[in-house]
């Protein structure tokens, strides 16, 4: 006589909340992982149910990155913490000129977090990963007591492959190189800020959160060895990215304010909040430093890609021992574009 199977209660995805048993390693945890994460990420690696996933390493240089996501609010116009955790890590891989292959995801969930929200976040991650063609093949879940986290924190690790011999590095900018920007700046930071308490704007500004590896492939195809370095201007915005590149490459940059695309509603929101769009975060933009002879071809390739429609050449690298980033203002004067001191917008990614 076979033993009676216990009735398997379904997760209450409408009103249920994550409790400590969901992280305790028992049946509840298994059910959470299966019903929410495996359902959303659905692939053969996860279905195999191992604590790790194996894959064949392709030829070339392997590229790896990791990032943690703690954005608040979790859902914001144009995205959420889940899609952001996929896009952000894919982009870090892509900036090396690499093709992203696989992701891992780990979740730190606060006791009491709504299962419906967790399902929504997981679904968004799954969708972003499928759209990008980069599967999430392994993961981990922990639940902490109420007050020890804020809703959900997500860490993703990415692995990708770059062609043998290709080495894009942040010390590669040379005087005379041109700087291309793939589109409007400040959208993500302002979208997140606008969702915050007391700061709702009439016009909805959407985050630009997007996976950039397709755009990167187009840039590499057009620019080849003339592409010196690429970086996505996330926290700290365009100002921080250019300052980092200036310091690491030992050059200065001179940029033109009028050449930098900013949506008028973002400019207005920044004006209202006392922010400078140059310091505001982006999650779907990149800066490419280009040898002058490939700049036009790369710019054309960027503009031909849906994520680079507003791309522009915004300035150039110059010899400068001070490694200053200088800007010619639309007003006709000049100024330094510095790193921001302190935190402009807490927890935007």
């Amino acid at each position: 006589m076979s033993l009676q199977q216990p009735i398997r209660r379904k997760l209450d995805l409408k009103n249920g909340r994550v409790d400590l048993s969901h992280g305790a390693g028992g049946r509840a945890m298994g059910q959470l992982i299966e019903d929410i994460f495996h359902a959303a990420f659905d692939n053969d690696w996860l279905r195999a149910g191992n604590d790790q996933s194996a894959f064949a390493a392709p030829a070339g240089r392997m590229v790896m990155t990791t990032d943690a996501y703690v954005v608040t609010p979790i859902f914001f116009p144009g995205g959420d913490i889940g899609s952001l955790a996929v896009h952000g890590t894919i982009n870090d891989i892509a900036m090396a000129g690499a093709r992203p292959l696989y992701l891992s995801a780990s979740f730190i969930i606060e006791e009491g977090f709504a299962l419906a929200d967790l399902k929504r976040v997981a679904a968004s991650m799954g969708e972003a990963s499928r759209a990008a063609g980069v599967p999430i093949i392994t993961g981990d879940t922990k639940v902490v007591e109420r007050g020890k986290a804020d809703g959900v924190f997500i860490s993703t690790t990415g692995i990708g492959v770059a062609p043998a011999g290709l080495s894009l590095s942040s010390d590669a900018a040379r005087p005379g190189d041109l700087v291309a920007l793939s589109g409007t700046i400040g959208d993500h930071g302002v979208a997140v800020m606008s969702k915050r308490e007391n700061l709702e704007f009439e016009t909805q500004i959407l985050s630009d959160s997007a996976a950039l590896h397709g755009l990167v492939a187009a840039i590499m195809a057009a620019g080849g060895a003339g592409v010196r370095v690429m970086r996505d201007p996330t926290r700290g915005g365009l100002a921080a990215t250019l300052n980092e590149l200036a310091h690491q490459s030992g050059v200065g940059f001179e940029i033109e304010e009028e050449a930098i695309p900013v949506r008028s509603e973002v400019a207005a929101a920044c004006e209202f909040l006392g922010l400078d769009p140059l310091n505001v975060a982006n999650e779907g933009k990149l800066v490419a430093v280009l040898a002058p002879e490939v700049a036009d071809a790369v710019l054309a390739a960027m503009k031909a890609h849906p994520l680079g429609l507003d791309a522009a050449l915004i300035g150039r690298a110059v010899a400068d021992d001070n490694r200053f980033v200088q800007m010619r203002t639309a007003f006709g004067g000049g100024r330094i574009v510095d790193w921001l001191s302190g935190e402009q917008l807490p927890r935007i990614c």
Binding site: F324, R328, G332, G333, R335, S341
Partner: protein
């Protein structure tokens, strides 16, 4: 941006700059002080000084509320916030202002004090309503621009019968500070007052009007041009000051006519007069103790006065002796003249108040202006570009 971009038009700026260059007498120097941090920020952010001829120079004044807040008052706020029942609400730019021995609200918050950044005084009121068991204290600072919103919060607290709301009042007044600058020169050459005219406050003047500045033009003989905070406003005001000097006039002129009237905002003035009274004396960072220069709550509102409610006392605190914020705020020295500037004192690790707020003279120079000096030191460098 409609109604904003018009005031940042590069072509118009070139036109005004050309007129200033044409009209400024090359045989003399023009030293003007922009009183407000908002003007300092506009000058630096838009690179306005690049458009001025060499003999027209701007001196950055003390009109940045964060910069003139003395360490003792920061210490007082930190002491107040350390009280476990207190929730201290403050504007964001106060968080990093250094108090004694490197203390700041940001550090006190990390050590466990309940300190919250707010965008408006009414955010503090909302917190007091939502958390009746907390003693909510609003750290009130600023010139006449931010005083009416604080008055509004007191009114709201009164109307809502909030028993757990109070303010730590540090509101200061603009005219006494201008007077202090004019009277501060000690006669020595190093400390000689070079200011020949003032770009007068924008937002402050929307509240107090143009009348309170007359004394500076009439008694002290210093022209004042009230100007808006957009770069074209400042450029036009500078042209108006050059013309006054050239024509030997000393008047209060109003460039900011789209917002400022002679009498100002009478309703805001009445609210302030009803709720606040003048303190006998108050300490300004960099300017020292100035008589009749700051406000406190009247006795009728003392239940909203955190100083009385929590028995807070002013414990004198000393700035780093090498810090030149005082002379810089008076316009007697430039940020570069300070030994601390750019070495131990940067926006990331501010020692003096002028480095804290982006509107402070040192911070603005650090963030936006340094390259001019670098370019002058190595003129060939810019040719490489």
């Amino acid at each position: 941006m409609k109604y904003v971009d018009e005031y940042r038009d590069g072509k118009l700026a070139q036109g005004i700059a050309a007129t200033i260059a044409r009209e400024a007498d090359p045989a003399r120097l023009y030293h003007f002080m922009e009183f407000c941090g908002g003007h300092t920020h506009a000058i630096a952010r838009y690179g306005l000084e690049d458009l001025l001829p060499e003999n027209v120079r701007m001196i950055h004044g003390p009109g940045c509320p964060v910069c003139v807040l003395p360490m003792a008052r920061v210490d007082m706020a930190i002491a107040c916030a350390r009280d476990p029942k207190v929730t201290l609400c403050a504007y964001g730019d106060l968080m990093r202002v250094p108090g004694s021995s490197g203390a700041s609200l940001l550090k006190a918050k990390a050590e466990g004090a309940d300190i919250r950044m707010v965008y408006s005084t009414l955010d503090a009121i909302r917190i007091a309503e939502a958390e009746p068991n907390r003693e909510v204290v609003f750290f009130a600072i600023g010139f006449e621009t931010t005083t009416p919103p604080t008055a509004l919060a007191i009114r709201a607290a009164q109307k809502k019968r909030l028993a757990n709301f109070s303010i730590l009042c540090n509101h200061v007044m603009t005219p006494p500070a201008i007077r202090a600058i004019l009277e501060s020169a000690d006669g020595s050459e190093a400390d000689a007052l070079r200011v020949e005219g003032f770009v007068g406050p924008a937002h402050v003047s929307t509240v107090i009007g143009t009348r309170p500045y007359r004394v500076f033009a009439e008694t002290f003989g210093k022209p004042v041009v009230i100007a808006g905070f957009e770069p074209l406003d400042v450029a036009q005001a500078i042209l108006m000051l050059v013309r006054q000097i050239n024509e030997g006039r000393s008047e209060v002129e109003n460039q900011y006519i789209r917002a400022v009237t002679e009498s100002g905002n009478l309703r805001a003035q009445a609210e302030m007069a009803d709720i606040f009274e003048t303190r006998e004396t108050f300490e300004w960072r960099g300017l020292g103790w100035l008589p009749d220069s700051a406000l406190r709550l009247k006795a009728a509102y003392e239940r909203y006065d955190a100083e009385k409610r929590f028995g807070l006392v002013d414990v004198p605190a000393r700035d780093n002796p090498a810090c030149e914020c005082g002379a810089i705020l008076r316009g007697a020295k430039k940020p570069r003249d300070c030994k601390l500037f750019g070495s131990v004192c940067t926006p990331d690790t501010p020692m003096g108040s002028c480095m804290v707020s982006p509107e402070g003279a040192c911070s603005a120079h650090w963030t936006y202006g340094r390259f001019r000096e670098a370019a002058k030191a190595a003129p060939q460098r810019r040719n490489v570009a």
